[in-house]
């Protein structure tokens, strides 16, 4: 099968790593996979093509309005690929009625100048097959397809046993006690809660680090537009000794997190509500760190499997972190079992085959 992936690539955000994996895994399985567009020399240097008619299917991976290409390219796509051979992967739940969860929305009219109806009608115009990376889509005309996956080859360090992992983890001196890599978009509430829990342990753990856009200060556009959800508190972060750094390329994510003993998995309120997964849902388990799952319990069971439950701290995050430091073997056992579960149930090979089955079905 020849697949053409359509999305606007960013080397620090969104689905770039997932798309790179689809290219690699697809090729390994004997398929041809390319990204729609002109060949780029900057990383990721994925194979690119504008020859729409050469491909069997076009898979639109959509986060933002501009993931649909502009003219003349869009016309090439729509003219060159019949509607029944196009599919959309709706990564942010845009294909829903307008939803508000806390300060989070699926239709960001103030920022993006698009109303809800434009998303619905735009998607329906492009494809009859809409997939969302959740096990429980709200609309009956949407299929669940988790899209993102776990790549065992990307695991930084494989341990033979939880004892070995715990010993390595406890013994190593790391620059950070806790680190998070991701944009501060609708994450401040959860992140503040996590950092508040880390603060009493700072002397033991060391400092924390937030890597990504807009942790150091609230962007001017958010203040001008009155957008909540890009909040931060620089004075508080300073008081808590939290370092902030700009965004890093996607291929440095795993290595960077390995510099921290803990790393929270945090999703937007909207994503928690819709059960949407992201690339970080899985990638965090590739890093040599203890993931702290700040996500709903049902999500933990459904995606990570029951073995991951100890990694979800519940209401007492400080208490859980303390216990993780006191009994790391228990938690590294959870990590290793979860990795095995992810490798079985959520590998990119499995994802690719699921996608092929959807396309051929």
């Amino acid at each position: 099968m020849k697949l053409l992936l359509v999305s606007k690539l960013s080397h620090t955000a969104r689905a770039v790593n997932t798309l790179a994996k689809y290219v690699r895994v697809g090729q390994a399985l004997g398929h041809e996979v390319a990204v729609f567009g002109e060949q780029q020399s900057e990383p990721p240097a994925l194979p690119a093509s504008l020859d729409v008619k050469h491909f069997d299917f076009a898979v639109f991976v959509v986060y933002m309005p501009w993931d649909f290409p502009d003219l003349p390219y869009l016309a090439q796509l729509l003219d060159g690929m019949p509607k029944d051979r196009r599919v959309i992967i709706d990564c942010c739940g845009r294909y829903n009625e307008t939803l508000r969860v806390e300060h989070d929305f699926n239709h960001l009219e103030k920022m993006e100048n698009h109303q809800g109806w434009e998303w619905l009608e735009g998607f329906q115009a492009v494809s009859d097959r809409i997939l969302q990376p959740t096990l429980t889509p709200r609309r009956s005309d949407v299929r669940p397809f988790l899209f993102h996956g776990f790549d065992p080859k990307s695991v930084a360090k494989w341990y033979e046993s939880p004892q070995e992992a715990a010993a390595a983890w406890s013994g190593a001196v790391r620059p950070y006690g806790a680190a998070y890599v991701g944009t501060n978009w609708q994450r401040w509430t959860q992140m503040r809660r996590f950092l508040e829990a880390v603060e009493p342990l700072r002397e033991q753990l060391g400092r924390s680090c937030l890597v990504g856009w807009d942790w150091d200060k609230r962007p001017d556009w958010a203040a001008q537009l009155g957008i909540a959800g890009v909040d931060t508190d620089p004075a508080l972060l300073k008081r808590w000794g939290v370092e902030t750094k700009p965004a890093i390329p996607y291929d440095q994510f795993v290595e960077f997190l390995g510099q921290a003993r803990f790393s929270p998995v945090v999703h937007r309120p909207l994503f928690n509500e819709l059960g949407l997964v992201t690339n970080r849902t899985f990638e965090t388990f590739c890093a040599d760190t203890l993931p702290v799952l700040m996500v709903p319990d049902r999500y933990v069971d459904e995606v990570y499997g029951p073995a991951a439950r100890p990694l979800a701290p519940g209401d007492d995050v400080t208490g859980r972190l303390r216990d993780m430091m006191r009994r790391p073997e228990v938690y590294w056992d959870a990590v290793l079992q979860t990795r095995a579960h992810l490798a079985r149930e959520h590998s990119f090979e499995r994802r690719f085959k699921e996608l092929v089955a959807i396309l051929e079905g």
Binding site: D67, L71, P72, L74, L78, E118, E121, A125, V126
Partner: protein
Amino acid sequence: MKILFVTDRRVDAGSIQAVAGYVRAGDALGHTIAVYGPPDPRFRDVRTSTEVRAFDHVVFLFESKLRWLSGLQLANLLAGVPRGRRAILDADGMANRVTGIEGYDRNHASDGERDAWLAYYERLADRIMQPTFTPAEPGIIGLPFYGYDPAARVSAPVPKQHDLLLVGHNWWRWREMSTVLLPAIERLRHRLDGVCFVGLWWDAPPPWAGSLGLGEAFQTDPERLRTLRVEVRPPVPFSEVIGTMSTGRVNLMTQRPLFRHLRFLTSKFFEIFCADTVPLVLIDPDHAEAVYGPAGRELAWDNGGADRLLDVLTRPERYRAIVEEVRAHLAAQHSYRRRVEELVGALEV
């Protein structure tokens, strides 16, 4: 016929006034004309629709900005309407080869820029129209597009606040302003009871002008305007343009040098004659006659300049009669009913 206009809906600029005229005239002729999008309280008189598939033709209105539709919006429009039923109104001459006017106004900075526009247009629609009787490029359909709506005419006299008024934005206007109009105003200032410019960028250029290489397009000299006691006011919504113009005894209609060169029409050519005012139009007298009829020549600024302005102020009755003559010509030759018929004819081919 059902025609859907797709336009960047701006309340104080653009072609929305014309679209409103098409909607009204279309209804009178049994056509259905609407503008794409949900209902908008700012444009109460303009029918809206998002049912792209319900329309026979879609007409995209482009001015000087190319990428104002997102990929998401385009996806819906392209997938819903075949290319053969899509058309473009190229209101600013962006389909033309690179055209520069004395090193000042221009449509494109380079051939590459023009190529990008043409590539976009070519994929969007199979026909391009321009608001001129004489398109300069082959294959382009020339139709006036903008029209005169007698129903929009101010019927009762309006109290005057200014002798001289200009309602329009400072976009490629400063060269003419500084070399022609302001010297005339300076000469007559002691005889003018109130001079006012209403529009964007007379007080200062937009902050982004320089970064886009458009500093010259928004050049201004607020100090010089202050010295001449030219009052500057912010723009008004399209629904208030005619009423605002009516507060001036004389209204100036200026055009970009590019449009003068290409003989392009704009809404302003006709709107100004709906106001209770005497227009003086800064276009070539031959072009004025071609649009307004023989009487239009008497309203061309080039035909006398400051002396013409003084004549208007001192012999208002004479010029009110000339304006009435022009209005009769416009009602006969340039109504929106005629424009709708021309557009339908162009789309049916």
